[in-house]
């Protein structure tokens, strides 16, 4: 149904995306997610040829619509688009907004178009608003009319470009319910959205857009439950990350703790958790630097990942050198530091690969 081949788009020197290769099969619902400003809307507009690509091709039902001899208006009859900002004609009432296109391109007579429009209004739950003007409707109602309008042409494909981003949270649900209903009906759809639970629920496939292209893609389960790449993981889990490197035993622990505290306060992490984070790091640093003393140069990197969604903290603590698992102390003696770490951690693990020890600790 939709295929892009090496699609590239820039505005002046600003590269929006390059070499995007996407395929959307008939009946698929593909969610496009990613941080703001990564070009999701431009991608949708380019697929609909509302923006001209710099290079590459867009195939709709097997036809390359970037060709100069293509009648793009004819293509758009079967390629609906729903925008963030509704884009209803303010001087036309609801039914006229919906019937305008099918009458204009003569695929329906007025009476037939009005009958179809009323069916669509019934589907989106707005039959009583047929005579209302856009300014008399709420944002959610306007977007539902916009969806009905795009369906009036009986499209093969609809592109939803952040259909709820201009709506209050109270109105988001009513629009998502309509889109969910359309997805179940088997309509081919691409949806760019920031509603992660909706994307997870409704999409057959999810594309994560970042670094000027499709950074990662997979089934909704793969992307939301087990993302493979770092930026996807950070985005999905709403992760905020603090990174720090230690290269000398004489490093400034006081300054490090101040930075950790500032990071944690910025994301409203409570003081008990801040203490646990600092405690785990202090004990690990002491353990690793003590063991490594005289052997080699100290090289420690750690990150603190805060999942705003789950309220969890993951500490990833890496150090180079020989295999050294502090959770497996063989000799008897003072393991007080490790007792404290295992006491405050929800879970912990150690692995050794390519001369690098990595400890993961959840708090």
């Amino acid at each position: 149904m939709i295929q892009t081949v090496d699609l590239c788009k820039s505005f002046g020197n600003l590269v929006i995306f390059k070499n995007i290769n996407i395929t959307v099969q008939k009946g698929e619902c593909v969610a496009v997610i990613g941080p703001s400003g990564t070009g999701k809307s431009v991608l949708f507009r380019t697929i609909a040829m509302l923006e001209k690509p710099d290079s590459g091709q867009v195939f709709i039902n097997g036809t390359d619509i970037t060709r100069k001899d293509i009648n793009i208006n004819k293509v758009r009859e079967k390629l609906g688009m729903v925008y963030q900002g509704f884009h209803l004609f303010s001087h036309l009432n609801v039914i006229d907004n919906i019937t305008l296109a099918p009458i204009k391109v003569s695929i329906m007579k007025k009476q037939e178009a009005q009958k179809k429009a009323m069916e669509l209004l019934s589907m989106v739950g707005l039959t009583e608003k047929a005579s209302a003007f856009p300014h008399q409707l709420s944002g959610g109602q306007q977007q539902r009319v916009a969806i009905a309008r795009s369906l009036a042409m009986d499209p093969d494909i609809i592109l939803f470009d952040e259909p709820t981003s201009a709506l209050d949270p109270s109105m988001t649900g009513e629009v998502l319910a309509i889109i969910r209903k359309l997805a179940r009906s088997g309509l081919t759809m691409m949806i760019s959205t920031h509603e992660m639970s909706f994307a997870q629920d409704v999409a057959n496939r999810v594309l994560y857009i970042d670094e000027k292209g499709v950074y990662e893609q997979g089934t909704a389960h793969e992307i939301f439950q087990n993302p493979q790449r770092e930026k996807t993981r950070m985005f999905i889990r709403k992760l905020k990350v603090f990174s720090y490197s230690i290269t000398s035993r004489g490093f400034d622990m006081v300054a490090m703790n101040v930075q950790i505290e500032l990071f944690c306060q910025k994301y409203n992490i409570d003081s008990r958790k801040i203490n646990h984070i600092q405690l785990v790091l202090e004990e690990l640093i002491l353990e690793v630097s003590g063991e490594a003393e005289g052997k080699q140069q100290l090289k420690i990197d750690f990150t603190i990942e805060h999942s705003e969604e789950k309220g969890e903290i993951l500490i990833t603590f890496c150090y180079e050198g020989e295999f050294q698992n502090p959770f497996e102390h063989e000799e008897e003696g003072d393991n007080l530091g490790m007792v404290l770490i295992t006491g405050v951690a929800k879970n912990f693990s150690h692995k050794y690969e390519d001369g690098r020890n990595t400890i993961n600790i959840n708090i």
Binding site: M253, S271, N275, Q278, E282, D334, G337, V339, L340, V344
Partner: protein, 109 residues
């Protein structure tokens, strides 16, 4: 970290404030051991203002405890914040030390 010594009856009360960690454990040890070695045999460590302790700090508590046992003195802790009490519980130190909810209770026990 800051320590302040006050006399309360027969007790020397050391008020501990701030953090006791690897960066200042030595300083903390010196401040407390100076009191221990000054001839006082009844000490209360008032931890109202102690808001962070790591293993380095706990070890100093243990050193002071052993020293007080050796000289047959009395060491009590009071007013531990919940976060500090949690660390004492995890480390097992709650069973080693005599811990009281406040200074008054510590003195009257």
């Amino acid at each position: 970290m800051n320590t302040t010594l006050v006399k309360s009856g027969e007790y020397s009360v050391i008020i501990v404030e701030g953090r006791v960690d690897t960066t200042n454990a030595g300083e903390f040890e010196k401040a407390v051991m100076d009191v221990v070695e000054s001839g006082t045999d009844k000490i209360i460590l008032d931890c109202t203002g102690l808001n962070y302790i790591s293993s380095s700090g706990l070890r100093i508590f243990l050193i002071v405890h052993k020293r007080m046992l050796a000289k047959k003195g009395c060491l009590k802790l009071c007013s531990l914040q919940p976060g500090i009490k949690e660390i004492f519980d995890i480390s097992g130190f709650s069973t080693i030390f005599s811990i009281f909810p406040d200074q008054q209770t510590a003195e009257s026990d």
